[in-house]
Symmetry: C2
Subunit: 417 residues, 2 copies
């Protein structure tokens, strides 16, 4: 008998039939003797529909009222799921975030969970219920309703699992688990049986976006065993935990890529102390997130450096750089879009020299030039032109021994070609 947290996203409960399938899965666990706490997101398009309604009345609605509005989506889900469980003869009780004892900071739209008091959850479990908790929401100490922001339901599930000391937190989604890369790009991508928290964090930008980075961080911090699996099949899924076993001979766990990349280069900057601080201080004040930063060597007292931002921030970042020209003299600022950041991720690469060299070799043999490089203990990232990216990902996938014998078919049998 285990204590299990199950989390179902909006598409897993998007229709009556899907809701019934989820109810059946919960009932199966109860019949097997498990104690079950379920976290649910709003059904299908509910949240988007509510946002549309609000925009018609107010293009800039107060965040507090937006939280009041959006939290109804999850409340509808939990009530309906509880009814569906009753319909097949099992006890269930639904809770809003505040009823489940989820306290958050006093911030609207992106609050962090500050504390969970799971007394009512345990009471309902002890009475033989499946406990259905609304994801994505909580309450402040002043009784204000809050939402947790993006990835909120994943975070609710992980935080609840930590608070009730669950044996496992299962994240149900519309894919089978975490893949070595996006199966839509590489047909022979392999599903991973295990992965470490750190690797999962680095892979969080993979195509399927199965797990929100914030939830992974929370799981790592609280040592919550996560399983990512499909709500449509009985397949095993991928386990995310501290020490994941690496297969024989495999060093790289997966290939991630991010298409939302723009590069800004500042050329001919006077090489004075404090220049970098001035530039990136100004960007931070402008609310612009900078990812990779590369500085070339200094030549004749002048330096060149480049950094990446998201495509949306490219224009604004350029304006910020131009606005500080008086205090940071430079020759020229240039920018480039249509870039992709490709990353190889694997905890094994620290102890395997030559992993990065192989990456550069594969990319250069494909005739693609590398514009920027960034490394960490478990990751090497290269920024390249967007047009070559599919070949690069496939080449890296093969070179690091990640290809499966069989192809992965995405989108059902009709895609089999």
């Amino acid at each position: 008998m285990s204590l299990i947290v199950m989390k179902f996203g909006g598409s897993s409960v998007g229709t009556t039939e899907r809701m019934q399938r989820v109810a059946k899965r919960i009932a199966d666990y109860k019949e097997a003797g498990h104690r079950v706490v379920v976290v649910v997101s709003a059904m299908g398009d509910t949240t988007d529909d509510l946002i549309d309604q609000s925009k018609q009345l107010n293009p800039n609605p107060p965040a507090r009222e937006m939280d009041m509005l959006l939290t109804t989506g999850e409340q509808i889900s939990v009530a309906l799921l509880s009814m569906a469980i009753h319909a097949i003869g099992h006890r269930a009780v639904s809770f809003t975030g505040w009823q489940a004892g989820i306290r958050t900071e006093a911030v609207h739209g992106k609050a962090r969970i500050s504390d969970i008091t799971p007394d009512r959850i345990f009471g309902a479990l002890d009475a033989g219920n499946a406990v259905i908790v609304a994801g994505f929401q909580g309450m402040t100490d002043d009784g204000e309703i809050t939402t947790l922001g993006r990835g909120g339901s994943d975070t609710t599930a992980v935080a609840l699992a930590a608070a009730i000391k669950a044996d496992v937190c299962e994240i149900y989604t519309d894919v089978d688990g975490v893949y070595s890369t996006d199966p839509r790009v590489v047909k022979c991508a392999r599903k991973l049986d295990e992965i470490s928290y750190d690797e999962m964090l680095e892979l969080a930008n993979l195509g399927a976006a199965v797990l929100h980075p914030r939830a992974v961080e929370y799981a790592k911090h609280n040592n919550v065993r996560l399983v990512v699996r499909s709500s449509f099949t009985q397949n095993e899924g991928t386990t995310v935990k501290e020490e994941a076993v690496m297969e024989q001979g495999v060093v790289v766990r997966g290939i991630a890529f991010d298409k939302n990349v723009a590069r800004i280069s500042i050329l001919g900057v006077e090489d004075e102390p404090g220049v970098l601080a001035k530039v990136f201080g100004a960007l931070a004040e402008g609310g612009i997130d900078v990812d990779i930063i590369v500085q070339s060597g200094v030549l004749g007292g002048k330096a060149d450096f480049s950094f990446t931002v998201s495509k949306d921030d490219q224009e604004k970042a350029t304006q910020v750089v131009e606005s500080i020209r008086a205090s940071v003299p430079y020759r020229e600022v240039t920018s480039e879009v249509d870039l992709v950041k490709v990353s190889i991720v694997g905890a094994g690469m620290v102890s395997n020299p030559g992993v990065a060299a192989k990456m550069f070799d594969v990319i250069s043999k494909l005739g693609v030039s590398i514009k920027m490089v960034s490394t960490s203990e478990i990751k090497v990232s290269c920024v390249i032109a967007a047009e070559g990216v599919q070949d690069v990902i496939r080449g890296l996938h093969t070179a690091y021994g990640l290809d499966t014998a069989e192809q992965v078919f995405v989108g059902g049998p009709q895609d089999r070609r």
Copy 2:
């Protein structure tokens, strides 16, 4: 500067435009210096849509989960209305029932309000907000979400008005106020300026059903001044209060009618003590509400008596009567549907003899026979065949001096004939 409670029903906030119109009305009050608490129902068909969704998953959903589901309808309304008020430059804050401090009994689907702690409401008013409260809902002492059942939002408004000692509780609806009778039947029905709580209770079954009897009772008990008015016009509406001024020469305030009437007659009953108690005890056990009861004189130790029930209960009531034949011997049970109860209502009739006689005279001159009669201090009711009812209502309306000079036009200009 007044403290005003305004209540808007589902059709008053059913579209974006209507929601904006309501927001404007609230803003006007705020600009005039009033402190405003607003109670809102779920928008348009929201509640019915949620019920439909639930039925697909569970034909008999647990009442607790139904309350979790349905209370989202009002939460959506209050959040959107608050946003609409912000959009036109005024401060507003929305509250669920529990946030507004509304406590109820621990009953789902039809809880009664047990207590209101309006601290948060006053706090928000003091901060300059219009306070928007979700109608129809509350919370038990154990933190369970409840609904108040039919007429719930009216009751929320009246109970809040009592708790915060509001100067007035305005009930906004889609008609101009309370009419002397249903304007769809009598074109020259008049809108009443004032009416007493007791009269309003008797008239509660009038066509427009503008105010739920439970809310009127609550208002009477707590002496809350009610105003029923249209959310689409600036007309004055009808004030409901303890002592309503009667116009010169008018004794009857209005004509009510109820088409949902069936008569059961038990003929040739042994006239023994306890017979009536046995019959109506059995009906009460069967959950059947009995309205008018009439017993004829006793002839040869046998009595006849009749009573009315709602049409839906006619078959079940007949079965109950047949089931107790062993303990209450009688000759025959008969029943009749297609009946209407017509009532004249007015606090003035106590001190005006001949009011009932005039009613019987008007009805008999129209060639309609009266099947049952019931009277109270402020009401005389006659049960007649349904086919004659329109003529009877029009005749009574004229006879008691209720006709306006002008006809009332219902449903817009195209109805003008």
